[in-house]
Symmetry: C2
Subunit: 434 residues, 2 copies
């Protein structure tokens, strides 16, 4: 993409309302614009990142055997009355009345809708287990939306729902999602720690939050150092027994501040790490909480009806855009991990109008592939170009000017390390080849 | 995907409420489930088709130079008051009040939001032209939603918006979208006819509807036969002059029933075709209708402010799923064009449990690629498998049973023509290779 054409209205000044670094950088880098409190428009650069994150989430859900579908944003209040949540949910639920005076709402989550789909579709235990998910916009009418997309009102969430005949198979579905989440966040260049979470009145140990580490994170976490160094599972057989793998991860101490056991933690000695983090996922087995009141049953092996056991599994897709920036930035701007970068390379033309520079840039642009490169072909001074490119944080920069070309070189800069090398255009191409 | 795992709750009976064939088939083939009047849940099969259509729309928008972004579903009423449409829009607008008693709405379209983004981002004529688009869910609170996804309340639309300095360059943006639409619908296997549409008080000739032909279509169209046979433009230079190409298409007679000129049409003689069709796209240049009241100006070449000229360009993405079925089905079910099919091949195992059949199916499944194949490995009778496979309409079927394998063959069936061949598994593989 040529920057002269790209819609990238970066800001020199940081809007005063932005309190955290990801919000500041997303506004300055023209990733989002606020439309209303907690509601954002995603400009092309932000949208590209959002799509890459969504695609990683999707691939790992599919790999784990979950099936993608799509539930609507506007839901019928009737189902929420059946589950008993309509009155409980309070003011965070955006309630709507349609032209025929029917009570509707903008879904903050979809347990009721998916349970309704299930009960009208699946009759036999033979069709279990099923894990179904969607990636859809949600709305929660937060009283004080803030921190940009980290705590917006309209936000993109992946929510999966599992349906099983009994608790034993439900645990397998839970483990599939647990492992999928480890892989999902790792692929985005994040260190994610699973923390046991409150299960409330349902009890049991099947609830975990996934926290990504970032110095600027919202909350404090305590964990065993080994958790930070564990290798991410590769080549997982999701049909096989995942319990040993899950036990490996959950056997090491890890706790959020409010569940921190100081005495137990002290036994870790030097292996105790205290860090800050951001919640990006939550998995939860809740048994028959929705299936019982809503009558989601299947015929069991003995011909008797069985109320299905359910779990839900959320990933904050739009929140992850902010979380990744919180985890990966410096004073100059964002530093995108390669897997989620909106473009792989930023190509900077230091002298627009100079024939040799234009030709070298055009050749690099075509060879690297216009979809992978943001080519700054604007007639701007070099300082402004460097600043914008650092701000938007593409993994690599190729800087091309008459002086270098005279010596037969371009400059290759790694955004994360800041390392610069003068190499031939051919070598740069070879290094950056897809 | 193995059908024994896939969430595909097909229906034997057609729900009584479905009045048109696409609605009946989408319900029976388990593509969608109605959640509430005019609001649907997309089950995995329907979702897969929706995504393929969306991707074709996206690719052709990008090719034409439009840039993707994403505007929110919930919009501020304030902007609609600025444009003057808040009170005019009537009951089709789903109005919402948030917890702080602010007037919001579920966007039925996004002219106001994009104009607001533009006026706060772009200052100079040098940054024009721009064509921005998003593919987002919309809500129109139809008084009587019907015909399934063809006339739902919550629906997926691609809407693009162009911004230009003057009418001449605005016409170029318009032409880019015109040509992109020709390509978009053709890639989905549809015959699409551009019809001049009413421009209302704004006047001019820059408004076209795109109608796809289907015997069961909602409206009657009249056009020159040559329009049906025109080759779809390939290798288009979207920066070049597109006017001759657009003139070629608009120079031939074409009119919806309400604009039909019987006298003029009569001069066509045998070249006049009357057919039925479905509107799937609408492009419209509306000049300063929104930019003037909302103050969207840029500094022109002479330093004076210029109110930008705008157009909008819609494609009914979810509607297209229904439209394609209306255009391509038979008594047995859907017939997907290859480009939008949810899977390329349906693999039918005629004797589950038979070792040779299982082995042959497993080998075909792996070789063809599990993402491209829906493998009916259920323990069901052959008749039910044939009926389901015809219903869901994958382009190809490979039917494998002990009898054929004894002769060294499988059966390859083309869903569209019904043609069947007995060939070796290797030949089938070669024929179906991606």
């Amino acid at each position: 993409m040529r920057l002269s054409r790209y819609f990238l209205p970066t800001l020199k000044e940081t809007p005063a309302e932005a309190q955290i670094v990801s919000h500041r950088l997303m506004l300055r880098a023209a990733m989002v614009r606020q439309h209303a409190a907690g509601i954002y428009t995603w400009l092309p650069l932000g949208f590209a990142v959002l799509k890459r994150i969504e695609q990683i989430v999707r691939e790992e859900q599919n790999r784990a055997g979950a099936q993608e579908m799509l539930m609507p944003t506007i839901q019928s209040a009737e189902l929420w009355r059946e589950s008993g949540r309509y009155d409980d949910y309070g003011k965070e639920m955006l309630r709507v009345t349609d032209r025929h005076a029917r009570d509707m709402l903008y879904g903050p989550t979809a347990e009721e809708v998916i349970t309704d789909v299930f009960r009208t579709s699946i009759r036999s235990y033979k069709d279990l287990p099923k894990v179904l998910y969607h990636i859809q916009w949600k709305f929660r009418d937060e009283v004080r939306p803030r921190f940009g997309v980290m705590r917006g009102r309209e936000f993109l969430m992946k929510d999966a729902y599992s349906f099983d005949l009994d608790t034993a198979t439900a645990r397998h579905s839970y483990n599939q999602m647990f492992v999928a989440y480890l892989r999902t966040f790792a692929r985005m260049g994040l260190k994610a720690i699973p923390l046991r979470a409150e299960t409330g009145p349902i009890g049991g140990d099947l609830s975990h939050e996934f926290i990504v580490l970032a110095d600027t994170g919202e909350s404090e976490v305590h964990c065993h150092r080994a958790l930070l160094e564990k290798a991410i599972p590769e080549g997982v057989d999701y049909d096989g027994d995942l319990q040993p793998l899950v036990d490996e991860w959950t056997g090491l101490y890890a706790a959020a501040d409010e569940m921190h056991d100081v005495t137990k933690a002290a036994t870790l000695g030097d292996d105790l790490v205290t860090a800050r983090g951001i919640e990006v996922g939550h998995i939860f087995h809740f048994g028959t909480k929705y299936s019982a009141p809503m009558g989601a049953t299947v015929t069991g092996p003995d011909g008797e009806p069985v109320t299905v056991a359910m779990g839900s599994y959320g990933v904050g897709v739009s929140r992850l855009v902010g979380a990744i920036i919180e985890a990966s930035h410096d004073d100059h701007g964002i530093i995108w991990p390669e897997s989620v970068a909106p473009f792989h390379v930023g190509l900077i033309n230091l002298k627009v109008g100079d024939a040799a520079t234009e030709a070298a840039c055009a050749a690099l642009y075509e060879s690297l592939g216009p979809d992978r490169v943001l080519y700054d072909d604007r007639d701007e001074r070099a300082g402004a170009k460097f600043a914008d490119m650092d701000l938007i944080g593409l993994p690599w920069q190729v800087i091309v000017g008459p002086k270098g070309l005279g010596k037969g070189v371009v400059e290759l800069k790694n955004r994360a390390t800041g390392a610069r090398e003068e190499i031939s255009a051919e070598s740069a191409l070879a290094r950056l080849a897809g």
